[in-house]
Symmetry: C2
Subunit: 245 residues, 2 copies
């Protein structure tokens, strides 16, 4: 196993950061590494908002559900799916463009994710830590207003970046046989594999240094699907021009 | 700049592969590296179909728009957004789950993308090449049928993996100032930056070794948005239980 694979396998979210800034030169290297990710048909359908204003950082920490590290980390990014730039460019070049297709929502969301994961890997390779902030979708309209996002642009997730001030364990993942399937989807063994993973996660939650609790994977999932998590997303996206046509 | 950032910045799609198989041990390492990516609320809402059957590889090459490397590469993966496993697990644990939310479509699509980008980076770190196959969404219903994907699972994209038998140039990316914005979205300079990038891409297309052509970025984008690219996606997703509620 080479050092890069070793690095990827050692990922864990960092939520406590040193009071130390990432040098601008390194920061830009992370973004350039992000840009090098594959992009659907070269569309590059994303924008990254680098939130520097301290008051806006505080507001975003609150809007994300009171996640203090959003305000406290060295650099906070909001990765946006951006179908505006490319469709505007095609329009200026003389095309009568169609917007609001479901396919475009997917392309832009996936593009943003691929870029972000490269930024994450680049950051960790430089000794930095990071945490994705899906909580940005708790209040996407307010976030969009704060960041002045136009139509055809929406905030997919945030990312905290900085020098780690904690060293949490790597969180276990589902058994390989559960997520990797040969030729056909089959899940006859899934209940068994999930039960095995529930036991793994129970042990993890009991033993971990950052606060132990008596739970497992399936139990942790329950509130995510019983309540309609972020039921505003459809109407929010439609309002931003992602009409899912 | 460290070797991992160097690696990320050297990415280019590989579409011609040596007739040489990736060893199983390395292949599994790539998947494990993929699994280590961040995942929304630990949901791990993805499955990977490893397509081994040669006839199915041929069929998928055709369904993706006649992309021969789908059949010819060492290993072909289909990354699926999978909301079945996690919702089934929560249901077995006693939850009355809600499915079909727009948020769930996003979570699962993004999870699949994060995993895939880690697999891509791991592969390149081991001297392999890869190519994402968004063309899998040309015929998602037939792909789903072939791979026997159940409801709440959909094929996001494919990935060809193998030992490169070509050495294409790195494709330019948009100027950093176009995709990175401080505090607020602003695009006053976008037309100018895109014009600059069009010139860059024109030079690239004229000079590249793999077939030159007289075009630029904006021109290349035009057919993507004038025709309704993949207009079937909404109804396809709804039919698979991603109702975008």
């Amino acid at each position: 196993m080479n050092p890069t694979i070793e690095l990827l396998k050692s990922h864990r979210s960092i939520r406590k950061f040193q009071d130390r800034k990432i040098p601008r030169e390194l920061f830009e290297e992370l973004i350039r590494a992000g840009q090098s990710a594959a992009t659907s048909s070269h569309v590059q359908a994303y924008s990254i908002i680098h939130v520097v204003n301290p008051q806006n950082r505080e507001t975003l920490a609150e809007l994300s559900g009171g996640q203090r590290y959003v305000a406290e980390c060295s650099d906070f990014l909001v990765f946006c799916a951006d179908m505006k730039r490319a469709t505007d460019a095609a329009e200026r070049a003389g095309a009568e463009v169609v917007r609001g297709m479901t396919e475009q929502l997917l392309v832009a969301s996936i593009d943003a994710a691929l870029v972000a994961q490269n930024v994450a890997t680049a950051a960790e390779s430089a000794g930095l830590g990071l945490c994705y902030i899906g909580g940005i979708r708790n209040n996407p309209a307010k976030v969009s207003e704060l960041l002045r996002l136009p139509d055809h642009v929406y905030p997919v997730f945030g990312m905290c970046l900085g020098y780690p001030d904690q060293n949490p364990e790597v969180k276990p993942r589902l058994p390989l046989t559960s997520i990797l399937k040969e030729d056909y989807y089959q899940d006859e063994q899934d209940a068994e594999l999930v039960a095995e993973f529930d036991a793994t996660m129970h042990t993890y939650y009991q033993a971990r240094s950052g606060g132990n609790k008596d739970t497992n994977w399936s139990e942790q999932l329950k509130p995510l699907f019983t309540s309609k998590l972020r039921p505003h997303m459809r109407d929010f996206l439609r309002g931003k021009g992602f009409e899912m046509k």
